[in-house]
Amino acid sequence: MKLITKLGTLAIAAGLAVPLATGCASTATTPAPGGASSGAAAQNVTLDWGFWNQGEAGNKMWQGLADEVNKQHPNITVKLTSPPFADYFTKLQSQLAANEAPCIMSMQSLRLPAFAQAMEPMDELLKTSGFNASEWNPAAIKALQNNGKQYALPYGISTVVLYYNKDAFKDAGVAEPKPGWTVAEFEAAARTITEKTGKPAFGQSFSDLHMFSTLYAYNQARPVDESGKLTLTEGKMVDAFTWYTGLATAKKVSLVPASASDIPWGEQQFVAGNVAMASDGSWNISSNATQAKFNVGVTTLPGKGTFSANSGFGISKNCKYKKEALQAIQVITGAKAQETAAAAGTFPARTAASKTFYDGLATKLDSKTPGYSAQAKAAIEGSSGDALPFLSTTKWDQTTKTIAREFILAYTGSQDPKKTLENVQQTAG
């Protein structure tokens, strides 16, 4: 009895103590083949495609495009997997560590600096594949370049815009905002709506693009400079961040995230109807208006300018079938595919498909909210003109987590905004 008890305890203690400490090493040292695997016949290839979750309708649409690859190139089968956005880049890290990255890698422009090393530059392959840059939105193509090399072909382009609850504005007797509205107008609207409804009018966020775009519109503050260095302690950033946190702490017109794990807060609270305004990407221009149970309006961020970002599909360095991967990507981002994506609510990277996007928006939403597609067009065009591509650092993923942990202290007023920025700069810079 005594011996058995002792041995049992020891075995469990050892079993619990050790795997934790060793988990990292085993993934790093296990050699495995590349992301693609060959089928039965020599030329038949199966390509893995990793893409963050696009919602039920979106996933179906992208799966349809994956199937389309097989129709146009019968030797290529594309296998799509869609983890949630919050997990996609973490998963990608571990896939890269295990040498199992998907052949077709979906990449966000703002995370490209961190992952470019693991991706294959496409320039040489594109030369012989009939690629014509003039068919594309130049900003969308450029945003997926790193050190002058093209790493992915875009499927869309987005800016951050301001969504608002038309009903809440009407109930509070506040005039609806127009593209180009000022920070003072935004503050006045937020104050009145907060007073009239008793609920904070604006929703704050930790999402990098959403929050930093709002700060950029305020005074053109930029979190990362041209050389890819974190610049959170620069004067403009301190001013803009002090203003942003002050919306909650001093003016009391904004709702603060419940915890540091609520990265996308304001934008979610907006769709849920809990706040009347939030910054969010133009990629949600269709879905936000569809999901919300109120009339959604959209305009430019208060102030001047915004950040743009886009996503696209590239080839992982370890992919064994790079030529086939490019063929697949050219189908997925082809003229026909872009029409499909535009009709489904993605603002396309190919200029020819943008009409389809606005027409689709009109058909789907103008009956619910009259004039929505025209407003969306004005907001997108009003923000695209002076949109700046969002630059990030090579350690951006980890930095965003530090930002959430530290920024909540400033949002809740328990830490000075300047000190908060200094802390993040020191930990992540």
């Binding site: 009895m1 005594k2 008890t5 049992g8 305890t9 020891l10 469990i12 203690a13 050892a14 079993g15 619990l16 103590a17 050790v18 795997p19 934790l20 400490a21 060793t22 988990g23 990292c24 090493a25 085993s26 993934t27 790093a28 040292t29 880049f89 973490t90 890290q93 571990s94 890269l96 560590a97 961190a114 090393q117 693991a118 603060v256 995230p257 419940a258 915890s259 540091a260 794990s261 990265i263 809990n274 360095k317 350690k395 993923d397 980890q398 987590k401 959430a404 942990r405 530290e406 909540i408 202290l409 949002y411 809740t412 328990s414 830490q415 802390n423 020191q426 930990t427 992540a428 810079g429």
Partner: protein, 290 residues
């Protein structure tokens, strides 16, 4: 007299499965982790020998490790005694109930429910506008943002970790209480021992092997706390709820630095090893095996 047969081959036969298992799943990964911690090992790119750089970095300016270590120790110091007292109390109470089987299952449900799911539910209970806030506001109490405030976030997470782990030890103690020898208890009663004396001088000493087992396991679990704070607070606000395992996870899979992530993992491994060893050495002073 017949020659005594050697027990060596038989012993070897019995040992082989566990030795092979331990070697593949414990020894080799441990050695690899130690090795990894001495390298600059990105998730992709070139691996370079770094010596003790990863360990020195743990205590450099801007590192979250000191806070993570402090929080982990606080977690353990709060969780282990509270968990043991509560589960022992629950087990004694359950033992007297005619619904004991039902209660055991009930208390065990959180153990088998995915931690991520229960943590999300607890987060919804805690957050402003959540269930707790709603209930308290009805009686005129304004609840602070529990998970967004440094002082309360750690304790809010501790409550969830304790709740999560209640069922396991309650089950262990419950089973041990059921097996307490009736004759010893009866003898104590005949000798005139009161309920309190029976509990303190007879029952608890008889339960010490189970208490020792539960202490060891609970302590190891507490040192490794991760999922609840990760889901509920992501380590914030500031570094109020960062734990060592979270530091390991974020450095490895968000920072892409496997070598730098192995260093805190090894420190935690050493800490658990030392504390467990001390417990083993100390057990002969207070654990009574029959």
């Amino acid at each position: 007299m017949a020659r005594k047969r050697s027990e060596g081959p038989a012993a070897l036969g019995f040992l082989v499965p566990s030795v092979v298992g331990l070697t593949i799943f414990v020894m080799v990964p441990t050695i690899l982790a130690i090795a990894t911690s001495l390298f600059d090992w990105p998730t992709f790119g070139d691996v370079e020998f770094a010596g003790l750089k990863n360990y020195r970095r743990l205590f450099a300016r801007g590192s979250t490790f000191p806070a993570a270590l402090r929080n982990t120790i606080v977690f353990t110091l709060v969780i282990v005694p509270l968990n043991l007292v509560l589960t022992l109390g629950l087990a004694f109470w359950v033992a007297t109930s005619r619904w004991r089987r039902f209660y055991r299952v009930l208390f065990f449900v959180p153990v088998v429910t995915p931690t991520v799911a229960t943590s999300i539910i607890w987060k919804m209970i805690y957050q402003p506008g959540g269930i707790l806030d709603d209930l308290l506001s009805r009686v005129g109490f304004t609840m602070p943002n529990l998970l967004g405030t440094g002082n309360t976030a750690l304790m809010a997470v501790v409550v969830v970790v304790i709740w999560n782990g209640l069922g396991y030890n309650t089950l262990i103690f419950s089973a041990a209480i059921d097996q307490l020898p009736d004759d010893v208890i009866a003898a104590a009663r005949i000798d005139g021992a009161s309920g309190w004396r029976q509990l303190w001088h007879v029952k608890i000493p008889l339960l010490t092997p189970a208490i020792f087992f539960a202490t060891t396991i609970t302590m190891i679990h507490a040192f490794q706390v991760f999922a609840q704070p990760y889901v509920m607070t992501a380590g914030g606000p500031g570094t109020a709820t960062v734990t060592v395992v979270m530091d390991v996870y974020q450095t490895a899979f968000q920072g892409g630095a496997l070598g730098a992530a192995s260093a805190p993992a090894m420190v935690l491994f050493a800490l658990i090893l030392v504390v467990t060893a001390v417990q083993w050495l100390g057990q002969r002073k207070w654990v009574h095996y029959e």
